[in-house]
Symmetry: C2
């Protein structure tokens, strides 16, 4: 990467800041919707600095500049960004706010674009800037955009109906329910800025960002259950208007500000942790009721059609995984396979599946020591061969019309060491600890996270990431509010929620292990002899877990029973999904890979 071009861009931005009378500017890695995956026209941080990671912020002042990234990216940022132009800082150890508090001089005019900071972020920023007796200036023309002359146009992928067969509930019913919640809370309207909330509410899908079928848009949901939908009309496909019905009024995106101003004097629900500060500025005449996006929770609780869809999608995804793992076992014999060929082959297996639309994220395909880099993405430079005596870790998923998948398997290449097998078995015990859990209504992910770590803790081991994230229904592969993590989220796990179950273990420089299935929270079930109905988990993901890596003696009877039952179900469902004549050898492989342990 040529760093000179970024030095020039930094100079151009500084000139524009001077022209606008600003002493500095904050450039976060974000767009107006707080999307996880940014469209190309929103990649401002990468354009300016060269840094392509998924999280970070640059601050440009007249005489210094800094870029803040977290622990995943401390090496990458040094590789991609000019150390003469930017100081490198750790986002967690030195938060942007704290750093600004120490460097801003009195009277400094620090610019920020209110589209790219949530209201909560803006308020934190304002606190330190005010504390330093500096001024926080909300720009109306983004100075970076002014100098980014060849910025790509915004994405304009077609918006299509999401069929009722997959959505399970029509939009009018969803809108009526949430409008009822708003009305009960005394709100006249809610502003929706999260594209996945809007896509779910209106039963539409699009393609404006990678790996997630989202149309970028904004919406205002009224307490009478109607919606003003601010979306570029050229994205709308034939028949969409009929699908939307009378309750949804399509508006040009440039009139969103007018729509917000029209809420003056009204009581308006806005999520301060996801809505842009820009929205709050435009709502200055309204009474703002801060609260969660009202769509988040109903969206997270999947209905029967969504659950049936995801089961079907997972069966299909499991067929692709079985073909891939069978291929891998054979191909890995001659040590010519590398991370890229493996990832490509897996994508190819998936792409022939019915309703396949996209991968749900860039495949994490890791040979040997690369498996210990938790957020590893293969590049031609880092690409490694799969070598005998190593572990191969593959974390991948797909977007199907009927469901979103996300699975991680760790596979022995050649003969694994006893240590690898011990560690793998402990991770498996953690996985089963979650999968087999029964728990009362009201239990949060934070209360059960440690069951995924227990067998590692007993051996003086652990892993430094959460155990599970929520997953959408042909939507985001990461969604809230539920999760399984040490910190917890305060949200109880409710029947119908989908969450990943993915404990791991990582030995730096040697190997990584992770076993991930998606699970759905099951409805309250009476237990024979018990008094309280209990929730539990249904494992949605169906693919063999490598038996060659399991030390059977480390498992309890109940754990062995779980694994054997799970494998029997994999054999039955995936076996039925295989294509008899074409997949004969896959079927034979599957039978062996899912045989009972004992």
């Amino acid at each position: 990467m040529n760093k000179t071009i970024h030095t020039e861009r930094l100079a151009a931005l500084r000139a524009e800041l001077a022209r606008q009378g600003l002493d500095g500017f904050v450039v976060p890695h974000s767009d107006a919707h707080q999307n996880e995956f940014l469209p190309p026209d929103a990649e401002r941080l990468a354009w300016l600095t060269g840094f392509t990671g998924s999280a970070g912020t640059a601050v440009v002042l007249a005489d210094r500049a800094a870029i803040f990234v977290d622990g995943r990216y401390t090496l990458q940022v040094r590789d991609q960004v000019d150390g003469n132009a930017y100081e490198f800082l750790h986002l967690i150890e030195t938060p942007v706010d704290c750093w600004l508090g120490t460097v801003l001089g009195e009277g400094t005019r620090l610019g920020f674009d209110p589209w790219f900071h949530t209201q909560a972020q803006k308020e934190r920023l304002a606190r330190v800037v005010t504390g330093a007796k500096a001024d926080l200036v909300s720009v109306t023309e983004n100075p970076l955009d002014a100098v980014w002359t060849d910025r790509p146009p915004p994405p304009a992928a077609p918006v299509v109906p999401h069929d009722l067969a997959y959505a399970g509930r029509d939009s009018a019913a969803k809108r009526a329910e949430i409008a009822g919640v708003l009305a009960k809370a005394g709100a006249d309207a809610a502003v929706l800025t999260q594209p996945d909330s809007i896509a779910w509410l209106l039963n539409v899908r699009g393609g404006d960002v990678d790996h997630t079928p989202l149309p970028l848009s904004f919406a205002i949901l009224k307490a009478d259950a109607t919606v003003d939908w601010y979306v570029a009309s050229q994205k709308l496909t034939d028949g969409l208007a009929a699908h939307l019905g009378n309750g949804v009024s399509v508006q040009p995106p440039e009139t969103f500000a007018d729509g917000l101003k029209a809420l003056s004097e009204k009581r308006v629900r806005v999520a301060s942790d996801s809505a842009a500060a820009w929205v709050f500025e435009r709502l200055s005449g309204a009474e703002i009721l801060r609260g969660e996006d009202p769509v988040t929770l109903p969206k997270a609780i999947k209905n029967e059609a969504e659950l049936d869809g995801t089961r079907t999608a997972h069966a299909r995804d499991g067929v692709a995984m079985a073909r891939f793992l069978h291929w891998l076992d054979e191909a890995a014999q001659d040590a010519t396979i590398d991370e890229i060929t493996a990832a490509d082959r897996l994508a190819a297996f998936r792409s022939t599946g019915e309703h396949f639309r996209d991968l749900s994220f860039d495949t994490i395909s890791c040979a040997g020591p690369n498996g210990a880099i938790v957020h590893y993405r293969v590049t031609p430079e880092t690409n490694r061969k799969l070598e005998p005596g190593s572990l191969y870790l593959v974390d991948s998923g797909a977007q199907y019309l009927d469901g979103t998948t996300d699975i991680t398997r760790t596979v022995a290449i050649g003969t694994p060491t006893e240590e690898m097998r011990d560690r793998f078995t402990r991770v498996l015990k953690g996985h089963i600890g979650i999968a087999n859990m029964r728990f009362p209504d009201g239990t949060t992910g934070g209360q059960i996270d440690a069951f995924a770590r227990h067998a590692l803790w007993q051996a003086g081991l652990d892993y430094d990431h959460g155990t599970g994230h929520g997953v959408g229904s042909y939507l985001g592969v990461h969604e809230g509010p539920q999760r399984i993590s040490k910190a917890g989220s305060g949200t109880a796990l409710k029947p119908g929620m989908i969450v990943s179950n993915e404990p791991g273990y990582y030995k730096t420089g040697e190997y990584g292990i992770r076993i991930e299935n998606l699970v759905a929270v099951t409805p309250p079930e009476a237990i024979a002899g018990g008094e309280r109905a209990m929730l539990g988990f249904e494992s949605l993901t169906l693919a063999p877990i490598d038996r060659r890596l399991i030390v059977s003696d480390l498992l309890t009877d109940a754990e062995r029973d779980w694994l054997d039952d799970y494998h029997a179900r994999v054999r039955e469902v995936i076996g039925a999904g295989l294509d008899g004549p074409r997949d004969t050898s896959v079927f034979t492989w599957l039978s062996a890979a899912t045989a009972p342990l004992s």
Copy 2:
């Protein structure tokens, strides 16, 4: 109980309110220190209403009155309080604030005594009163005290030094450390209102409240490590001044207000969730830094002398428990024992122990169905015989000079049912799940609480209380900040903290089960083959767990090993503490009660 007298008291209070120009008054069950156990002169709620429970609030208005209690006391309050004079409300379902918001008329003058509400409670109250356009009036003369003409005098138990051999660290070192923390946070002083914090900081003990060796007092700790101690001088015993040294200045309690006013213009740390609103009123000229009581955390982390003391105290307590359980097994044969005789006998066994000072709370002695009432306290009216085929649950503890104990055992009287044994074994599995836990630094009690419930959850069962509370060192049997509970406390478990491990199971109308040991968090320990040092628990309590109630087949090998190891330690330590000639039959009984399971 004669309810007429309380009707008269209510009328007298109303007359006094009218005299003071007030339309209402709030009477919480609390004192100026937010003590758990109130001294007699602070039992205002009981004096006014007749209600003797440990938590509740009354609100008296001109034309109506209400009393708020939680689920433990819904029956008791109806029994003790006149339903014609008071409405009965549920403290959780209808919080006092919410109710006031609905009943206060515009302009109503509602009085409260700022001594008996924390600042945080006052602020919540102020929000609803202001919302109702009523006035919240901070009284300077408590109208209830004005009509409670025969109110007992405040307690004046002697204050004695707490010997360095038990405290482990002298007060000057403790004060210097905490003063350093204050100075670093930019505070000039901290106001201490919790008697146990002051007792720990100054290495003194007293006896102003039941079951806890506390002198009631207030203190101001300065950033120079000196303390102004507001305590009645007649309570101080000979030699105490020398023990306190030059850094502690004893002041008359009535000058506390002047001491606070003298902090004007200073930066003062105060705990808004424990300090009285009165303190905040007197600090109006100071810059208040809200934060935890700075003594709470250091006090919770016991030093080596405190840990050694508690081990010795627990060995001694275990001898009393062994003598009691042996006596019980013999005496219960003829079914003449009742809850009161059993509790008395246990107290008698304890009281002969070295350094015994008091019980640490009123013994919870429950036969049969009374065991299912979690906060049961025996009275002559409820006293039950211990009958064959039932369970006896006894939760008790003592204050020894070298440590505070708290233990629960559940004992089979005659032949238990298979259901009782199944439930007991599941509770035991939960107890061992906590006792055997290893966990990394930073883990909170909320993250591990579910391990105590897991075996119950799997069977559709649970219990509705927390799993563990912190315990002091010859101080409160309940102390923070650590705990093991679903809600968690955000406080990480640190080496040296003492916490109870007490899962249970309760079958209403039939029986209750609880197994409680105190445990101490152990220092980080490297584990063979592991990478991260792990914390764990040392079981401090030493008494047999009833083997007749254990279904051995329900335990894993690791659980059986834990129990056998624990029992071997009980046999060794308690056996050595028994008195040879006198305790021969106890020793024989102990050997059988602690024999290996398998």
